[in-house]
């Protein structure tokens, strides 16, 4: 029983302590996806473009310059982008809080 502890430390020691782990990059392998929380928020540019497209479609729809189908399609697309961004943001924030409240 007692020799088990040094055995465990030697098992981990060889892989963890003596050689520092390379920075974990599980997400980076997926087509350059960000690996930090902060990066998630810098990726919302495309979603904002969709929102802007929805807005301008709505305005030109009010002016009668585009079909109502087009307006509905753009606005719905913007809504879906916003919902996706908000859902991911909530998830990221809650993950961040989980980590920051972790007992050390």
């Amino acid at each position: 029983m007692i020799p088990a502890l040094p055995l465990v430390t030697s098992m981990f020691g060889s892989s963890v302590v003596s050689q520092p782990l390379p920075p974990a990059q599980p997400a980076a392998s997926i087509a350059g996806a960000p690996s930090e929380f902060g990066h998630v928020f810098s990726q919302v540019g495309e979603a904002i473009d969709t929102l802007k497209a929805g807005e301008s479609a709505a305005i030109s729809g009010l002016q009668g310059q585009t079909s109502v189908q087009n307006v509905v399609e753009s606005v719905m697309s913007a809504e879906r982008s916003l919902q996706t961004v908000v859902a991911i943001r909530d998830k990221v924030v809650s993950a961040y809080q989980t980590i920051s409240q972790m007992a050390i």
């Binding site: 079909s67 189908q69 509905v72 719905m76 697309s77 879906r80 919902q83 909530d90 998830k91 809650s94």
Partner: protein, 140 residues
């Protein structure tokens, strides 16, 4: 890779636009069902037809639908003997548009059904999308 649900909504949106164009053509035909020519013996309004074709969307890699041509129905005009009409020729014959109300009503109903089908596709795609996003919300 694009989101398939985004593509679905775009495709169904192109269906909506095409069917509303078709509806517009039906409206034109119905409204002009009695439009004769202005000068004696001249041709009246000719019934319009609409055809569709698929159009590849390069960005999404999907086939949308669009109106190919708005053509003219070449079937013969309906003729009536009405010498008092300004459009009557020397024999008193007036040419009326080749619009068949029954055919237009059938076309109207078909456009309506097709439009509803595309709307239903959009509704389904939207609800699937929000259900999927709800997974992210409620699992925490």
């Amino acid at each position: 890779m694009n989101d398939p649900i985004d593509s679905v909504i775009k495709i169904a949106g192109s269906g909506l636009e095409s069917q509303s164009t078709r509806l517009r053509i039906v409206a034109e035909n119905l409204a002009n069902a009695q439009s004769t020519g202005t000068t004696p013996g001249s041709n009246p309004y000719a019934r319009k037809t609409v055809t569709f074709e698929s159009e590849l969307d390069q960005a999404l890699g999907v086939d949308l639908v669009k109106v190919k041509t708005i053509g003219i129905d070449k079937s013969p005009f309906r003729v009536e003997h009405d010498p008092g009409n300004p459009a009557a020729d020397s024999n008193g014959i007036v040419k009326f548009p080749n619009v068949d109300l029954l055919m237009e009503m059938a076309d109207l109903r078909e456009a309506n059904r097709s439009y509803e089908a595309n709307l239903q596709v959009i509704k389904q795609a939207n609800s699937l999308n929000s259900m999927t996003l709800d997974l992210l919300r409620t699992s925490s």
